[in-house]
Amino acid sequence: MSRADVVGIVGAGRFGTALGSVLARAGRRVLVWSRDEEIVRAIEATRSCPRLPEAPLPASLEVTGDPRRLASEARLLVMAVSSTNVRDRARELGNFIDGSHIVVHAVGALASPNNERVSEVMQQGLPTLKIGVIAGPALPADLALGEFSSMVVASAFDEVVAEARRLLNAPPALRVYGSNDLAGVELASALAGAYSVALGLCDGLGMGAGPRAVLITRVVAEASRLGTAGGAQARTFAGLAGLGNLLVRASDRSADYQLGRRLADGVVSADNHRTEGARAAIAGAELAAHLRVRMPVLEGVAAVLAGKAEPREAAALVGDQVASEE
């Protein structure tokens, strides 16, 4: 099989393993690279990933601890690592790839510590310019179980979108759509995490279905405003990466949503910024201030996370500001 037809996955975490599993079942040749030798051995020995134990892995899914092998056998690489690791992993991978490789990341957050877009961070570490993002409401558990999922891949390069769609599209389990709005998809995906905290707060405070629907509608509008100011397309925020991501993350399976609920319940303290959504809320609020875009919901979440507002005060304030401004 030509390396053009092989999918390389960087990281054997929950999403990477689930994606590899779906694609391998669809007949693709998939090679997963993990730096953790124990995980490599565990997958080879048990056909199960310790980070996704609920899903048995297909026999055809290959795993390696050698990034050189990954780079030489696959041209399309999916970077499925955490936002805190993406910088180091890109730099390491960059030692083995060249300008012909295509690298698509699946990080639904901003990269730490400077809250840059992940594609910008990858650009600094990788020799290839052909970079993209894949995002959308596809939870690892759903993917691994073959539930119907959809994602969108975005890049400034048509070739990246076309190749990613060709190799990652595995209907009915996974349908992949295309976009050229790289910044929009990255921002929408990161903000979905931040707004998941908001929805957790909303549900934790016992607000009804009406206010919840209003909140969802408003966050799509304000995220679109921020995105447009940052050069993205407004409609991206109402698509799979924005609204789609938000709806799927607003459940107990999301750490961001759970954080929102715990904040509402007063179970955790305000300085708890451990989730990617919480970091995205803080970073998004800073970006909004820089671009002079008013974002009442995001600012409210950031205020609660920073301990500057009580959840119920913030909710009331957000409601007032939205009503008076829009």
Binding site: A4, D98, S100, P127, L129
Partner: protein
């Protein structure tokens, strides 16, 4: 690659241009015709019916645009009849006739574009002495004056920056010099800048309107310039132009593009580049890799051309503020077209030591990658990368993808736009203009030029002592922040008092309108538009407590 070798005269590849010219033209014709025919054939037989690919469409597009252009200019040369005739015959023409017509058109536009290089003119212009060249710019009645004023033109144009690396790159590969563009004097200015830097001369595309000045035209025609007719906006002409540029690069001819396109009207360092011919860099490199020459490298050299005073400042800023930049995309009636103003330019502007400084930056490869001192491409993490891999597919073969190549060119354009501010050199005129503008803006509570234009003249005076202190602070900020640019290296030691005096002299004597004049112990702004124009060169420096 950079070494301790003594600087030597760069090889002038243009010396062989005239011998190559017919071969280059034939290559352009062969490629353009083959591409259009291939596209037309796939259209007629293929499943995707793209009408714009048909031969009939291509020919009709040319005829339609030429008729429209010639009707607007009231053509009296009979060309209109030829195009109308073609338009009438087109539907009845056989495929062979259409192909013959296409070949003729491509040949015609190729010859219209192609340049010339006369080594005798080059030696005359550069060897005998720039003073002679300068004198030729002036009418015969001013010959003596022009000669005297231009005696030391070479001392007036000062090259600066990464010269050794550029020279090394010129030996290893082909240079694509990409300067900022603010004046029609840029072409001769950078031409002399290259010469003074011991860099080879380049071929370059110059707007056809520039060839109307007989003196400039004489030199441009014979020093490697090719003609770009911006009035011709149909696809076939653009194809010919781009192919010509591509072929020149593949044959190793150093080239020069102005990525900003037309002259910058506002004098703000260009941020949004039009790229245009710059895209031929990737195409040329791709073709060379395909031909088995991946190590024949192309180096894109950013440069800024920094004038103490700009010849056409009055027209350009008026045009910018009137928001007619688009409608007057090609300005034919500016100072450049008035010989008397050009004489003034040479007499007054170039009489000032170091009045034009050309600063060259570190070159990039065609994909916007940095290069090492040895001319190897490196990624952002500093690793050596193979530039050929950027145009190869998964199978290792070179692949054609216009959208990919356009994106690569945009990436290169972003690198150029990002480095231009750092390469900017500030003359005294820029510093004074910025300080005065900041102070007037502070008083008015706005930086909006349209509001500042309404400030009463009586409110436009600033105490001289405050201005000098402001220039001191601005110079300190620039010295601390290399990304803002730099002061003119020849005047770093100059006191701010002298710098202000020098700027006042420049801003009060050259243009037809006085910009700044001294009234007692204060400086008065007499022309806000031109003050704005000159301060715009510092516009990338954030407004702070400058004034």
């Amino acid at each position: 690659m950079a070494s301790d070798r003594p600087v030597r005269e760069a090889e002038n590849r243009l010396e062989r241009f005239n011998g190559d010219r017919e071969r280059l033209l034939a290559e352009v014709e062969r490629r353009v015709v083959a591409r259009i025919l291939a596209s037309a054939r796939s259209e007629s037989g293929g499943p995707s019916r793209d009408e714009t690919s048909s031969l009939e469409y291509v020919l009709n597009d040319v005829a339609f645009n030429e008729i429209k252009r010639l009707e607007a200019t009231h053509d009296k040369n009979g060309a209109l009849t030829r195009w109308r005739d073609l338009s009438r015959r087109l539907l009845a023409m056989s495929d062979a006739e259409k192909e013959a017509e296409l070949r003729e058109m491509v040949r015609f536009y190729g010859r219209d574009v192609v340049g010339n290089f006369d080594p005798r003119v080059y030696r005359f212009a550069t060897g005998v002495g720039p003073s002679i060249l300068g004198a030729l710019f002036s009418p015969m009645t001013s010959f003596r004056e022009g000669l005297a004023a231009l005696k030391n033109l070479d001392a007036r144009i000062h090259p600066d920056g990464e010269l050794e690396l550029a020279r090394a790159c010129a030996e290893r590969g082909t240079l694509i010099v990409t300067p900022t563009h603010s004046s029609n004097m840029d072409s001769p200015a950078i031409g002399f800048g290259l010469l003074r830097a011991h860099l080879p001369p380049t071929t370059y595309g110059a707007g056809k309107n520039l060839f109307t000045n007989p003196f400039i035209s004489f030199f441009m025609r014979n020093l490697g310039a090719y003609r770009v007719d911006r009035r011709l906006r149909f696809g076939l002409y653009k194809d010919v132009l781009k192919e010509y540029s591509t072929v020149l690069l593949e044959h190793g001819y150093h080239s020069l593009f102005f990525p900003g396109g037309t002259r910058c009207r506002s004098n703000i360092i260009e941020k949004h580049l039009k790229l245009g011919l710059l895209g031929t860099t990737v195409t040329a490199y791709k073709n060379m890799v395909r031909e088995g020459m991946p190590n024949k490298r192309l180096y894109v050299v950013p440069a800024t051309i920094n004038y103490r005073l700009v010849l056409e400042a009055e027209t350009l800023i008026d045009d910018y503020l009137a928001e007619t930049g688009k409608s007057r995309y090609i300005i034919t009636d500016d100072e450049f077209s008035r010989v008397g103003r050009m004489v003034e330019f040479f007499r007054k502007i170039l009489a000032h030591e170091g009045s034009v400084i050309v600063r060259f930056g570190r070159p990039y490869d065609p994909f916007g990658n940095d290069i090492t001192d040895d001319g190897e491409s490196i990624d952002r993490a500093g690793r050596i990368v193979d530039p050929a891999s950027f145009v190869r597919g998964a199978d290792g073969e070179v692949s054609d993808d216009d959208q990919r190549d356009a994106e690569y060119t945009r990436a290169l354009g972003r690198r150029l736009a990002a480095v231009y501010p750092r390469l900017t050199v500030f003359h005294s005129t820029h510093l004074l203009a910025r300080v005065l503008y900041d102070e007037l803006a502070r008083r008015a509570g706005t930086r909006d030029i349209y509001k500042l234009l309404r400030v009463a003249p009586s409110d436009c005076a600033v105490p001289l002592a405050d201005v000098i202190a402001g220039v001191d602070r601005l110079r300190a900020r620039i010295a601390q922040t290399p990304s803002y640019g730099a002061e003119h290296p020849g005047y770093v030691q100059q006191s701010s008092q002298d710098k202000v005096a020098d700027a006042v002299k420049g801003l009060s004597t050259f243009h037809t309108r006085t910009i700044v004049e001294q009234r007692g112990e204060a400086l008065a702004v007499a022309d806000m538009k031109l003050l704005y124009y000159y301060q715009n060169r510092t516009a990338h420096i954030p407004a702070g407590d400058v004034a």
